[in-house]
Amino acid sequence: MIYNSFNFLILFPLLFMGYYVIPVRFQKARNLFLLAVSYGLYLNWKPVYALILLLVTAVTYCVAILLERTERRKLIIWVGGAISVLPLLFFKYFNFINETVYGLLSSVGLRYELQGLNWAIPVGISFYTFQALGYLMDVYYKRIDAEKDFLTYTLFVSFFPSIMAGPINKSSLVIPQLKAIRLYFDYEKAVEGLKFILWGMFMKVVVADRAAIYVDTIFPNYGSYSGLTCFVASLHYTIQIYADFAGYSLMALGVGKTLGFELTENFRRPYFAVSVTDFWRRWHISLSIWLRDYVYIPLGGSRCHKILNYWNIFITFLISGIWHGANWTFIAWGILHGMAQIIEKMLGLQKCEGGAVMKTIRILVTFMIINIAWIFFRMPSITDALSMIGCVFDFNQPVSLFLDYKQNLPYTLIGFALLLAKDFRDEFYPQRLKLMNSEKTVVRWATYLFLMTTILLTGVFGDDQFIYAAF
């Protein structure tokens, strides 16, 4: 479900009413309703891809049960895991692998090309595959029992608030909630959920989509702009990707909360990190936890020789890069993050023990490293990424800055300022200046109305906004 779409405004109240119309004693019926909605929404994108979702669900369900009944657990987990990951590899990475192999063969004079796929990638496949794999591995490591109820498990994998873009939930968090006798309606949770949706919508529509207008003007034509403009565009992208992803995750959490569910927190003010290591405790937390629990620790984690530990970090972030996309740019991005953490570990820089000044410097330096790394994430090729970075650091060019100060910039600044103010307060003064959580009703309501008004006045709701730069 796209939370900032008009459809969401109509659909969600109906889902909400439909869910709560079912009396609480019919727990199974409530779960069935959520399952029907989850699959109904998924079928709405592309019906045949719901079969892929069902396949991954069925395979991991069966393998988990088998794991509890067999002695050959290692073989079963490898086979089951491989089958579960196959659709992800096929749909997301086939073309990339095909082109890479073709490129390598061509370089040695062998020309053998397989036909590429012209199929869309099933929505959310990276997320639900990892979620299901995580469950499987928890069963393998005997952290949890295999879920016997197929409907409950299917709902866990396909749960609509988080299937499209996360968070990647742990089965130990969600399945007990699905099986528990829930309250008919949890007022506090529902109100909290609406606050999450409101702030998440603000982040997405006011901050992220606004920044995207500038990013989409500069990045594809970076060669036509000065280094300073490219740098400012990279800053815009850094904010855009955070506000977009975190905003969306927050809305997913909010939707879950209004229905009485707690999902995994996914972002915790990542740009206030004092190191890249710290960044990964604040950014896409559900993925970080997944990689830690199912890649890093099984490889040996930090309980091994130093060199092996560095290797484990490298492999973990290589996989992170690959997970993010089928392009060498994502792999380069992942490797950059891995290397940064290895260097921090070597130099003992994961944490910051200094005072406010040192902390500020560390935050700014970390932010700059992350900012430069995002250029790889955004660009279509490594050459373009390096070229743009070269442009940013070319101090011989004249200093000029392209900004749409009449139209776009004021709204960008409003969004950035409000986001920075809230994150700053949450990070350093969480008990002060409570607005959405104020004890005074007037303050809370004024804040909600202010945010909603700002969303309507400054949000980006379609493709009608652009910077008149090229034409």
Binding site: F6, Y187, A190, S224, P410, L449, G462, Y468, F471
Partner: protein, 319 residues
């Protein structure tokens, strides 16, 4: 029972929130929505002038290539008929159709000149929602709302909100209204590029131009609005023009519009490959836009051809 009460409380509070929002929308939103109508200077003032007051005999419409290429004062002085450059950058045929519709509600110009820009008016490209940019203040005008709904059916509901109508414009409008400072409209709407030739930008744009023979993908919606535009404008005298390009242009891209012109008996003046202009750095600011000198040369050339232009009645329009 307690939870039913909590649900009731929850729904009531949502209802109350929506009521407060509605009040803000009807007060603050309505105020922001009313501001553009009160502005008489700058870009917004120009839009208001074109939509509400303009009564010039010759109108020029089109993208920035029209805005920066057609010297309306020179045309007026040479031909003896009032002329106004109504062009607007980056908007496309759908937007210009809406503006033409508003003008022709009030009167029939003697001649409408439309600068055809294939990648904005005909070919598939960026979202057509871009064409709605700048039209929101005129949504309530006759026939304009249906254009919005045609491009995006949800606009019907979004435009019920006054706050949404002021979206992304209210700050600029407020600033212009309170300070009366925006003077960016040029002389009779003409706003030329007063800069030297940018060879780097031109070189970068070269792969955007369609100067090779391949099948073009035309946007159905844009072609529909181009036909509607021609039909509407052809109630008076219409002239389609393609002004010079530094790159030149593959004339094949204009085939569909040439076909419409043949069917509707509309003249098309295609200067895109004029040898005096192609690759002439002195006359261009970049690959797509003439500079001031180029615009003056082009306007002089156009005026010469306009003197020989005959109207629907078979007589010369400007002799």
């Amino acid at each position: 029972m307690q939870h039913f009460e909590e649900m009731k409380k929850f729904l009531l509070k949502i209802g109350l929130f929506l009521c407060f929002l509605l009040i803000i929308d009807q007060t603050v939103g309505a105020y922001f929505d009313s501001i553009p109508k009160k502005i008489h200077k700058g870009g917004v003032g120009r839009e208001n002038y074109i939509s509400n007051e303009l009564k010039d005999s010759i109108l020029i419409l089109g993208s920035s290539r029209a805005w920066e290429h057609y010297d309306a004062q020179m045309i007026m002085d040479s031909l003896g008929f009032t002329c106004y450059n109504c062009a607007e950058g980056g908007r496309g045929i759908i937007n210009h159709y809406a503006r033409l519709k508003m003008v022709m509600e009030r009167y029939k110009p003697q001649l409408i000149i439309y600068e055809v820009t294939p990648f904005l008016d005909m070919l598939m490209g960026e979202s057509n929602s871009r064409c709605l940019f700048g039209l929101k203040p005129f949504y309530d005008r006759k026939g304009i709302d249906s254009i919005f709904w045609d491009i995006d059916p949800y606009e019907k509901y979004k435009m019920m909100s006054n706050l949404y109508r002021g979206n992304s414009k209210f700050l600029r409008n407020l600033f212009v209204y309170l300070t009366d400072r925006d003077t960016s409209i040029g002389v009779r709407g003409f706003s030329p590029k007063r800069c030297m030739f940018d060879s780097l930008k031109t070189q970068k744009g070269i792969d955007r131009m369609y100067d090779c023979n391949y099948d073009y993908n035309y946007d159905e919606v844009r072609m529909k609005y181009l036909s509607l535009f021609i039909e509407k404008a052809n109630n008076t005298n219409l002239l389609l023009v393609v002004s010079p390009l530094w790159y030149g242009q593959d004339s094949k891209v204009l085939e569909p519009v040439k076909e419409i012109c043949r069917m509707k008996n509309v003249r098309l003046f295609d200067y895109s490959n004029d040898k005096r202009f192609v690759h002439n750095n002195e006359l261009f600011a970049d690959g797509l836009h003439l500079n001031l000198k180029g615009a003056e040369e082009f306007t002089r050339m156009l005026i010469k051809d306009l003197r020989n232009l005959k109207g629907k009645h078979g007589k010369f329009l400007f002799k």
